[in-house]
């Protein structure tokens, strides 16, 4: 009896010390787990089990709500985008009052490699032939033909397009053309033109006013026995993504 008692006492002391050491010196909470078992809330468990049917209904209701909210979110994003565009148009018109006629692009007409737009405004709105056309970022082209309520825009992406541009840093002038890529010809080789330099319209010719942003220099090459530099440029305006253009009144 005494031996048995002593053995049990040693066992209980060992268990108690094991719990104490685990709690005091490590993150293992043996006690918490034992107490979780001892104090298992059976009533709460039963009520949770009984409520599982309600949870299913609630789940399906919430799924429907998520679908509606997702649709509304998409709608909201569209409206946000439209709002931003309208804001930009208003700001643009505010900066150039009376001179600017905004117009939506109704149709794109890629004739082989030349890109033209048809816009929803014509001479009845003040759109005249050879008027300069710009976008939010920079120059787009010019009005080729003007009907009563529509007009045809010749963009920069046209073999016949030739615009007089100048470098804002060196004031060196050249002609912007397009032949599957944009390039400027006529800038002498002694001009210190570098990648990243900005080009604007020079104002020469009767179409484009002075100082309209055109693009940045993308690449400059010097060729032996030639007078001018070979300058490749990247236009500011992305012509393939335009929705609205502005016609500058003469």
């Amino acid at each position: 009896m005494k031996k048995k008692f002593f053995r049990f006492y040693i066992l209980f002391v060992f268990i108690s010390l094991l719990f104490l050491i685990c709690e005091a010196f490590s993150d293992i909470k043996l006690g918490n787990k034992c107490y979780a078992l001892l104090t298992f809330d059976f009533r709460n468990f039963c009520s949770k089990f009984l409520k599982s049917h309600d949870l299913k209904e609630e789940n399906s209701r919430l799924l429907e709500k998520i679908a509606v909210l997702s649709y509304e979110r998409q709608l909201f994003n569209e409206l946000k985008k439209e709002n931003q565009e309208l804001k930009e148009i208003i700001e643009f018109r505010f900066n150039y009052p009376k001179l600017i006629i905004p117009a939506d692009i109704e149709r794109r007409m890629p004739e082989e490699v030349n890109l033209s737009f048809q816009i929803g405004k014509g001479y009845s709105h003040g759109v005249e032939r050879n008027a300069a056309v710009i976008g939010f970022e920079g120059i787009v082209g010019k009005v080729l033909k003007s009907g009563r309520n529509t007009a045809l825009i010749q963009t920069l992406k046209n073999y016949n397009s030739a615009i007089s541009v100048k470098d804002t840093k060196n004031k060196a002038e050249g002609i912007l053309r397009w032949n599957k890529k944009f390039f400027v010809e006529g800038i002498p080789q002694y001009v210190d033109l570098k990648k990243g330099d900005t080009l604007v319209t020079s104002g020469k010719g009767s179409v484009f006013p002075k100082g309209l942003p055109v693009g940045v220099v993308n690449d400059v090459k010097k060729k032996l026995n030639e007078y001018s530099l070979e300058v490749e440029i990247e236009p500011f305006e992305d012509l393939d993504r335009l929705d609205v253009v502005f016609i500058i009144k003469k």
Binding site: F12, V13, I15, S16, L17, L18, F19, L20, C34
Partner: protein, 154 residues
């Protein structure tokens, strides 16, 4: 049957201990039913029962106390062990043997105070105002129980 009685008494003592702050309190001192149970079960009934009761009651008791798990099983088991060691050296049926209950309650209370208080210099004050009166109160309860045990044996 014996185990059922032990289980019943253990649960009652646990319940009373956990609620003694509300029902069995005189000033700041209270009765310790678990210690009284362990004392009498170990000395007057079966020491092994006392050991088991001490260990498992320790676990249940400390659920509600901010101490590391394993503290009270260790304390209660050790109390039973030492009571069993000196069992044969005392004459149990004399009332002066209750001094052992006084010492048991005193030392367990001392350990409790050391575990609970932040400043050790407040311990002497607690010994005078809390521990000794509590040990006397519990011994008085033990006196009543021993009286009934003696009458039953006679």
């Amino acid at each position: 049957m014996k185990i059922a009685i032990l289980l019943f008494l253990s649960l009652v003592s646990l319940f009373v201990s956990l609620n003694s702050g509300r029902i069995l309190i005189v000033g700041s001192i209270s009765i310790k039913p678990i210690l009284i149970l362990l004392y009498f079960v170990t000395l007057y009934w079966n020491p092994l029962y006392g050991l088991f009761a001490g260990f498992f009651l320790g676990f249940l008791y400390e659920i509600y106390l901010p101490v590391f798990t394993g503290t009270y099983p260790l304390i209660f088991s050790s109390v039973v062990f030492y009571l069993h060691l000196i069992e044969r050296k005392i004459f149990k049926l004399r009332y002066n043997s209750l001094f052992l209950l006084f010492l048991t309650v005193f030392f367990v209370g001392l350990v409790q105070i050391i575990l609970e208080v932040e400043k050790l210099n407040s311990i002497p004050y607690a010994v005078l105002t809390h521990l000794i009166p509590e040990a006397i109160l519990n011994s008085a309860v033990g006196f009543v129980i021993l009286y009934f045990i003696k009458r039953y044996r006679d």
